[in-house]
Symmetry: C2
């Protein structure tokens, strides 16, 4: 009978998450019963959207939910064989048993690293793809701003916009990430919002205004973008990381959406699942052709998961934050 180590939320953070909000708990996991599989997680995803769930949504004293990729190690379920790879929402734990609900089989692309299915070719890449093309209705050659452009979603959104022939400005929080975006990714302008005032820097970087702002931040970034929106501009709102720790994020100039007739639209990836096959085909092609670049920050072992989430919220990752649990 395998033992699983898992991360429990034991205390809701007041502000930024801290190590004492979490506990590492070891428990016995039963073998697979009839109709069940036993899954070993290989990678778990660490995402900004986890932060609001620490305040409300994630139960206390239970293993945290989160995206993960696992391998079936025992099967008494006719739909799964030992060795199958399964995407699941039961991250932050090493092993679990399941009746198969909530598991989806993944056929990895043999020409690409497995971990890519956790970001550019997985949920975060799909969020960027649908958010920009479907929610943002981006058109060739438009003026585009992407915040957290060094992150897992932002970096893909910025590059899809470049592939559409757009002028793309990205914001990020370190000189290293800014250099990667400028020199490797080839964005037209990059703002380090920790060293440059975002409002003034964005004004200087967008002489033709903005048609689309892909928002992962809210707050001061959204205010700065609202000042620059062109007529009939669109703001797909993917995240509001500026408010995740405090619970609020003030925006003082929302009235600008009237004069420029701007559409702000909140979204989550399930809103455009009909694009999934298009996404997989397009993104696999772009990745193999080297047209979409990515970075990963990989920490090792389930015990590192709280530190990974804390680092992510502090912007210390480059690209996708992953915890690797097993080969």
């Amino acid at each position: 009978m395998p033992k699983s180590r898992e991360i429990h939320l034991v205390q809701r953070p007041d502000g930024a998450p801290r190590p004492e909000n979490f506990a590492l708990v070891e428990r016995d996991v039963g073998d697979a019963a009839d109709g069940e599989v036993l899954v070993q997680n290989l990678y778990m995803s660490v995402d900004p959207a986890m932060r609001p769930r620490l305040t409300a949504g994630q139960a206390l004293d239970e293993a945290m939910m989160g995206g993960a990729l696992g391998r079936v190690v025992q099967s008494k379920h006719e739909g799964f064989a030992v060795g199958d790879l399964v995407s699941n929402r039961l991250g932050f734990r090493e092993y679990f048993t399941s009746d198969g609900k909530g598991l989806s089989k993944l056929t990895p692309d043999p020409e690409l690293p497995l971990s890519v299915h956790m970001h550019a070719l997985g949920g975060t890449g799909f969020t960027a793809y649908g958010g920009l093309l479907h929610i943002g209705q981006i058109k060739d050659g438009e003026q585009v701003f992407v915040s957290t452009a060094g992150g897992a979603v932002g970096s893909v959104a910025a590059q899809i916009a470049k592939l559409k022939g757009c002028y793309v400005v990205g914001s990020t929080g370190s000189d290293d990430k800014a250099a990667w975006l400028r020199d490797e990714v080839g964005l037209d302008a990059v703002i380090n919002y920790k060293t440059q005032p975002i409002r003034q820097a964005l004004e200087e970087a967008t002489p033709k205004g903005l048609d689309v702002y892909f928002d992962n931040v809210g707050g001061d970034h959204l205010e700065a973008a609202l000042r620059r929106m062109n007529t009939l501009g669109r703001i797909p709102v993917c995240g509001f990381i500026s408010g995740y720790n405090s619970g609020h994020s003030n925006v003082s100039n929302l009235s600008n959406i009237i004069y420029a007739r701007v559409t702000l639209r909140g979204f989550v990836a399930p809103d455009f699942m009909h694009l999934w096959d298009d996404f997989k085909r397009d993104m696999a092609g772009w990745l193999k052709a080297g047209k979409i670049k990515y970075q990963e920050t990989v920490m090792e072992g389930v015990a590192a998961a709280p530190a990974a989430l804390i680092a992510l919220m502090a912007g210390e990752n480059s690209g996708k934050m992953l915890v690797k649990l097993a080969d």
Copy 2:
């Protein structure tokens, strides 16, 4: 040669507009030259959207722009005859000459009062119609909230929603207007935001949440509505009167649009001009059938125009605020 009295903006208001921001100026208006008409304004429209233009947009020491309905009193233009009624943007003055640009001929509906063409059957009614049906994509039987429901746009929006079989909550700023909305218009719930806390009152009035919020206010009304939005809800943003005097209007919980996947969309009526004929047909029918009720607050003479605008911004009007200049 007729003399025209007109209202100039002489000083930009700091906060609410005050009488000393305006001056009444008399000047000679030339007779119509070849290719011109001389127009006498009969009614001028006083609208909340004028307030932002006092801060930026309206030139100082010139007659203020604004919607008006006039009659051609001299014509040397082949497209216009003496007696033609013309909608124009040259309000806040008694007479003007024009080469015809920016004038559109109005054929009044003989079964309806002329003034109705200045509101329910004119620009404000059209703003409500397109804002709700086209921008708000309202569906039969939805849960709807309309702010400034006693105003020219809001009262029409609220009644169109009722005609679509929706559950409709309105907010207004006086007990008189609240009584009219409840007893004459038949809204399902009415909030007097000056005597009831909007957040709590809206929560109590919307047990099934909100699918559409027709926003004329921004600020605390928008915050209250964002807390109540159902999944895939829509917020057509017509005005932000809460911020017009101060120049800003804070919204602290905009991140709610992500979880409920809400669309906020700023608009102006020219965005849906293709609906104009449908609007005229539908609205004339509704008005004649008594299905759309309206109120007017009419002040007399161009000298009263500043007081009318000041009263409008203080919410002292009921329904459409008009200044009548001539019969």
